[in-house]
Structures are given as C-alpha cells and as structure tokens.
Symmetry: C2
Subunit: 356 residues, 2 copies
C-alpha cells in the first residue's frame, strides 16, 4: 500500500483549487515549476514504461471534452479536461480540468485534484523542459504570442528553468497583454508589450504561440521567422486548430510528444502522414541529437500528453505526503465485508470525515 497517502479505506485525498493555490504559494511557483520539470524529465526518460493511447475526445459544436488516461503499471492517471473557447463570453474558464491518480494493484483512487492550475503548470514546465534541449544556448528573450491563461506560467517557467530575462508580449486583444504585464510585474523579468507579431518576435530566442482560436490560423508565417530560433507551438492542440504556416514546419526540425496524438491534433495535422517528426523522449534518451547547430530552426509541436498530467499528479501527491495536509473525500464505500455493500445503507449516517 506504499502508493497511498492515507490508507485507501480512509477515503480519497482531495486537492481543491484553494488547496492547490496555497500549496503553490507556499512552495513558491518558480520552485514548483523547476521541480515539475525534473519530474517530467524523469518520466519522459522512462517513456517505454507508460501504457499510452491517444486521448478520448467528445467533440461538440462549441468545444471538446477529453479524457487522458495513462499508466506506468504502478499508478494510473486520468485527466478530465474540456476546451470551450466561447466560455469566455459567459465568464467561464475555457479549460476546466481535474484529475485522478490511482493505484493499479487495487484500482483505488489515491488522489483527486483540481487541474486548472496544475495543467497550466505542467504545460509551462513541459515547454521549458523541451526548450532546455532545443532552444539556442544562452537564450534570454522569450516572445509570447497569445497572452491568455497560460502566458504568465510560460514566462515564469522559462525564467526559472532556462534563465530567461526578457519577455515580449503580443495578443490581438491588448487587454490580455496588459493583464499578463501586470501579473508579471515585480517578478524579476523585463516585460514589453508589443503592437504586432513582427515587433514581438524581434530578437526572440524562443517564441511561444498560444492563441485560443479553434481554427486553422497562421499566427507565424514563414517569412517572419529567422533561422536559429526555437518555436514552442502549444496553442494548436485539437483537430482543425493550428497556428503555424506549413512552410515553417517544412524548414524546421519538428519535435512532438506522442506522434499518434500529434498527427491528429498538432500543427503537423496540416502535413502529409510521412512528414518526419521526432518524439521528444528520444532527445532526452540520446537517441536523437535535438538541436544540432545555432542556425537550425526547431519547433516543439506541443499538444499536451497524458503522461505529463501523470507526472504533475505524482509530484502533487509527493507534496501532500510531505505536508500531511489534505482533505479526504468520502467517495468509496468502506464497509468491513466487501461483499456486504448493502450494509452501507443500514449504517447510521455520520458526518463526512475530514483529515486536516
């Protein structure tokens, strides 16, 4: 039962939004991002141990609901996540995610956690991890095209993991850039709001594209981008949604997380099935060189893979173990004789137990 925090019979440890925010603030967001990057690296290095499948996606006119299960044979994780761009008009989140981590030996849930914040952290940490292998050496300037919910997490991950000092912001909605600027104020970064994509990418070593349109857009065209930069393209993450000019992909050395999923969801959905890409775990495991020269254009076509959520949930579970502070959900029946499920109806009702 070493996979458990509490004994499974005591209930399911639960990490609410408030608890997650408190945990991140207590540890310090940059420390969390650095630690997450290490956990992600550890898990990408043992890529072959994961039972992988493309995510399950239920598409509807306004969005998508996805399930992202994965297992390493000891633990199983699954993230529930939606993507509904029009939710912003209702003042709802475009992404409302939560995750479960469970013990493969017993099948019991070992933790349920919010994953709105955690997904933002793991996406930023994955981007930063990939960039440590693919970005030009001594990168100092990061351009963020699209300044929505992910942008501050990107900026801080690149600062903490790669030593980025300058952030250049661009969004078609200036209010989004101003929001990011305000949030990044006093975080030890030099932040500039730009008025066009062309202006924003001036002097950039790394360019993150993370826009919200659910269409095939061309945020970056081929002629805009000089050789030598690293593009972290994370906004195109579902069928029919891309951000990059196909000519740019042709010129570049393109890296992906899990090829079967990225072929359907990523920038490379524009390309033929034989367009060559490299799965990132091969770079970590030295089966592929990664960036080979300062003149090379590299692209990370990141769509988000289930193993990254697994890594993030495992990391959070470790923090719960260290702190000993967590809520418990009364989610699984606890009668002494497993065959006597019916007895649960006959036990006097007591108040929900909380471990604090």
């Amino acid at each position: 039962m070493s996979h458990f925090i509490a004994e499974p019979k005591q209930g399911v440890p639960f990490v609410s939004v408030q608890a997650m925010a408190k945990l991140i603030n207590t540890l310090g967001i940059e420390n969390v991002l650095v630690s997450l990057t290490k956990t992600l690296k550890h898990d990408f290095a043992r890529w072959h141990e994961f039972d992988k499948s493309p995510r399950y996606a239920a598409h509807s006119p306004d969005g998508v609901i996805e399930l992202m299960p994965v297992s390493d044979g000891k633990m199983f994780s699954c993230k529930y996540v939606n993507g509904h761009p029009k939710n912003t008009f209702k003042e709802l989140q475009t992404v409302a995610a939560f995750g479960i981590l469970s013990d493969v030996d017993s099948g019991y849930p070992a933790m349920i956690s919010e994953m709105c914040l955690l997904t933002a952290l793991r996406t930023a940490a994955t981007s930063a991890l990939v960039a440590t292998y693919l970005a030009p050496k001594n990168s100092t300037t990061l351009t963020l095209i699209g300044n929505g919910a992910q942008s501050e997490f990107q900026a801080l991950a690149f600062k903490a993991v790669l030593g980025i000092t300058h952030i250049r912001l661009y969004d078609i909605d200036e209010a989004a850039s101003q929001k990011a600027f305000n949030n990044l104020n006093n975080k030890g970064l030099t932040v500039t709001i730009c008025e066009s994509v062309e202006e924003a990418i001036k002097g950039a070593h790394i360019i993150t594209t993370c826009t919200a349109d659910k269409t095939n857009a061309t945020i970056l065209t081929n002629d805009m981008i000089p050789q030598g930069v690293h593009i972290n393209a994370i906004g195109g993450d579902c069928p029919g949604k891309t951000e990059l000019d196909s000519a740019l992909l042709e010129r570049a050395n393109v890296f992906v997380e899990y090829e079967p999923q990225t072929r359907v969801e990523g920038e490379i959905q524009q390309m033929s099935r034989c367009f060559a890409v490299t799965e990132f775990h091969k770079v970590i495991n030295k089966q592929h060189l990664g960036r080979t020269s300062e003149k090379e254009l590299t692209i990370f076509d990141g769509v988000g893979f289930a193993s990254e959520d697994f890594s993030a949930l495992v990391y959070i579970r470790e923090q719960l173990i260290k702190s000993g502070e967590y809520e418990i959900l009364d989610l699984i029946t606890q009668q002494g004789d497993p065959r006597n499920l019916f007895s649960v109806l006959e036990i006097p009702h007591k108040d929900k137990e909380n471990a604090a």
Copy 2:
C-alpha cells in the same frame, strides 16, 4: 445553463457515499429502483441519440481500471470503475467507482458522485428492466447464483419492478448466502439458502448469475436449465471471464446492451463473431419481439454499458434538484476573467464553501 443545479461558477455538486446512502434511504430503495428502471427505459428508447464507444480498459495482473464515457449531446458522463477480485483479501471493495456528469455546451462538470452504491442500483435496475421484456409472464421466483455485493440489489429490484416473491440463494461460500439472507430478512420476500446450483434453480423463472471469479467458469451447464426460463447473466463482464456453458447460449435467444463491447467482455466472447445476438434497445423500440413463447430460453448477457451510468447519474441529479441538499466541491477555478488564471494564485485563500 439549465443543465446545472448550482451555477457552474459556484463549484461542482458532490454526492458522497454518506449522501448517497441517505438519499436512497430517504426515498426508499425500492422506489429508487423503480424510478431508475423508468429512467433507463427512457434512455434505452433513445439509444441512437447516444455517442457510444466500448469502454477504455487498463488491465493489470490483479484487475482492471475502466473509463466509461458516453454523451447524448447535451450531457456527458464518465464512470471510473475498477474490478479487482483479490481486493476482498485486503478488506477493500472489488469495485470502487465514481462518476462525473457534465454539460456538453460548456464542458463544465455538473456533478461528481460516488458510484459504488449507484452502480449496484443501476445494474439491478437494468436487469429488472430487461426481465420485464424477456422473463416468462407472472414470474415469482428468482434464483441468485453468486451472493456477493450485487445480490440484495437484484432481489429488491426484481421484487419492486417484477413482483418477484421468492428468492433462492446459492454461493460456493455459504457465508455470502447467509449475509444476503440476513440483509433480505423482513423485506417482504421468501428467501431460501440452497446447497447446490441444481437445488437453487428448482422452480426458478429467472436465474441471475453474478459470481466473482475472473476466469472462464461454467456456473450453469446446458443440462441443468429447462426451457422457458430467463437467465440474467451479469457476472461475466470482462475478457476471460464467463459463467455459462456455450451450449446454453446456442439454445437461447441472447440479448445484449451494446454488441461491440459485449463481443469482447460478455458470455458471447466464447462464441464465433457471427453468433446472433439482439441489442436490447431494439426490444424496447419494438424492432425485435423479445420473448416469443413460454418455451423459449432467453439470456441477457449483461456487461454494463456507459449509458446506464449516464441514466443513473441523471436520475441522481434530478433528486439533488428536488432536495436542494448537496455539497459543493471547489474543483474548478472561478476567477472573473477566464484569461487571468494566474490571479487565482494571488487571491487570499478562503475556506472551502459548502452549500447545505
């Protein structure tokens, strides 16, 4: 937003084990089973409206973890459920399930619920619903082979929905039969513990097989079973697990929930791919006659399908609306500007809100 109980921004309604037990006891378990049967019938009748897929299953040496997603285009549901027969040796449940119901338009979770009790209820209600179409007329005697967690729920569903008066129990472990006997005492049924399968099926109109072995067993052999009975075979529900003699299936008119899933998991995994079966929704929708004579042997090869969990979750949600009593989980971030996720980290932490 009519799909929601609370406004989605207020958090996710949560039904704990204790809350579910209280709800069932308040409404009365037989009333719940009858109502669930009606909801199931309504949803089987609109079978074509559901976006269906076989469940996702992660198998391990000791069990399986499954995800069962389904959507009718308005609501989406997914059940997390394991099956670990050896858990009984650790005093853990063999099945530890929970479910989510969400709103397709926004992707937001509209309810999270325990599904240990709820799965038992929906399985029993599905069995009873199917039997109203397939069991011989005026059935009064139900035999339960395998007296584990599901048995009392079966007995009460068949009593409430079909008017069954006599229950005959058999289990290889007599303690299980004694447990079921004790639980069914004073429930208005005549209950008999039997010492063999042969004794138990004497005079039975309906035979439910629900044993726990994860092997290809032959609980019922061909020679044991007279014509005219209805077999409700619900224990064989994963690859490599069956309960019936293949000769019995050859003789019978066999009904299933969702053929692509049952071919892999059900009794019919023993049979060739061209062995004829009928999906049950066709009987409800009068596209198939169901039982055609008193001499016919009918078999329901029930493995449990995602739409049944959907029906059960929708039913529970309706009860929450009526009662107005439910907990709220702080699972989704609630900042005013969806793009300002980062601000969640800067809001002073307040205690978890509860609506009671």
